[in-house]
Symmetry: C2
Subunit: 206 residues, 2 copies
Amino acid sequence: MSEEKELKTEELILEAAEKVFINKGFAATKTTEIAKEAGVTHAMLHYYFRTKENLFNIVFQNKVQLLANSFFSVVHQDKSFTEIIGSAIEHHFDFIKENPELGLFIINEINSNEKNSKIWSDIAVPIFSNAVSSIKQMIDTEVQKGTIRPIDPVDFVQTVVSLNIFPFISKPLFKNLRHVSDKEYEKFSEQQKKENIRLVLLMLKP
Amino acid sequence: MSEEKELKTEELILEAAEKVFINKGFAATKTTEIAKEAGVTHAMLHYYFRTKENLFNIVFQNKVQLLANSFFSVVHQDKSFTEIIGSAIEHHFDFIKENPELGLFIINEINSNEKNSKIWSDIAVPIFSNAVSSIKQMIDTEVQKGTIRPIDPVDFVQTVVSLNIFPFISKPLFKNLRHVSDKEYEKFSEQQKKENIRLVLLMLKP
DNA sequence: ATTATCTATAGATCTATAGATAATGC
DNA sequence: ATTATCTATAGATCTATAGATAATGC
């Protein structure tokens, strides 16, 4: 069998599943569509993954991990607070730009199924807690120095996430109001990133 | 028949449909569930609304209109620019707080069906265009006076909407990181509103 | 011998309607 | 006479599996 020439069937199904699930959500996705997208017969899907739910869980857990980690790439270097915050926002924005559908997908699935909410709690919350406490330390230090105003670290993270994710989520709402000629969109998107950084630093000013 | 003692069947179905559709989305909603929620037999749903799609369209159009108008309650009074912006944000925030699921519902349905995207364009975009141009006038005037920095009015609206809607949309993501004892949530929510107003005005400073 | 693939179909679920019956308004 | 309601079911999908056949690795 062509071992490496093409992706293996199992891999093809998984990739197709990611695409379709993220696009349509669990409920609206048909296993037949995933099979078609993967270019394999429908029975193969059940042969490798047994159930639709099984396949979904694999996809969902992977994506939760990915999204949760994207919030915090803060590699503590010998940089100033402002620089650390700036580059963290930049990194997060770039990730969201590469994966614009991910946030919405995960929020929707958490809302529609209690089990998914549990998966989120188990995987993402520990990552968050950890990162939030290190951000809290930085904030406390700066507040003591008088360089920023006090702010709840969770509020802070939520505001950053909001500013970065929402432009992509709400794109369809504003689509017909803009001159987004795709060529200009790239530029617009970079401006947005800069503006978000500016706004967050402004918000922190005493 | 009890004309006014209870809601009529048609009304009961419509209200149940709103609830279930907004909660689960079109694809995941079963007409049997709507009937059950309304407390009527399943056949009644089809008797009054013929098809699931029909019923959905009525709900969707109503909600699109509602959401689109919520963005702009700017009654041009004899108030300052700052006051107008502040009260507009406040009004919008309060609306979102009363209807926290609405934004996500509409975004999802636009994403999953081209026809819904068309409905949004037909209903919401005219309302937006109208309001955006009046905001643009206000901004231009203030910019000329040197009281604010120049900003694209669509960007401006999108930022406000983002700051107001996202805390509610992303609530499940941050749920387990907070002390949200429901009694405290009301206070938190009011703080959030104030903070959003502060942030937007800050953003506009030259 | 084991693993991968295919065709065919069982069984569950869901939308929609047919046809009968009850309630309401002239 | 018309409108509203009910029960029963047709017809369309969709998930999952059974059972047969082909490919692969010792």
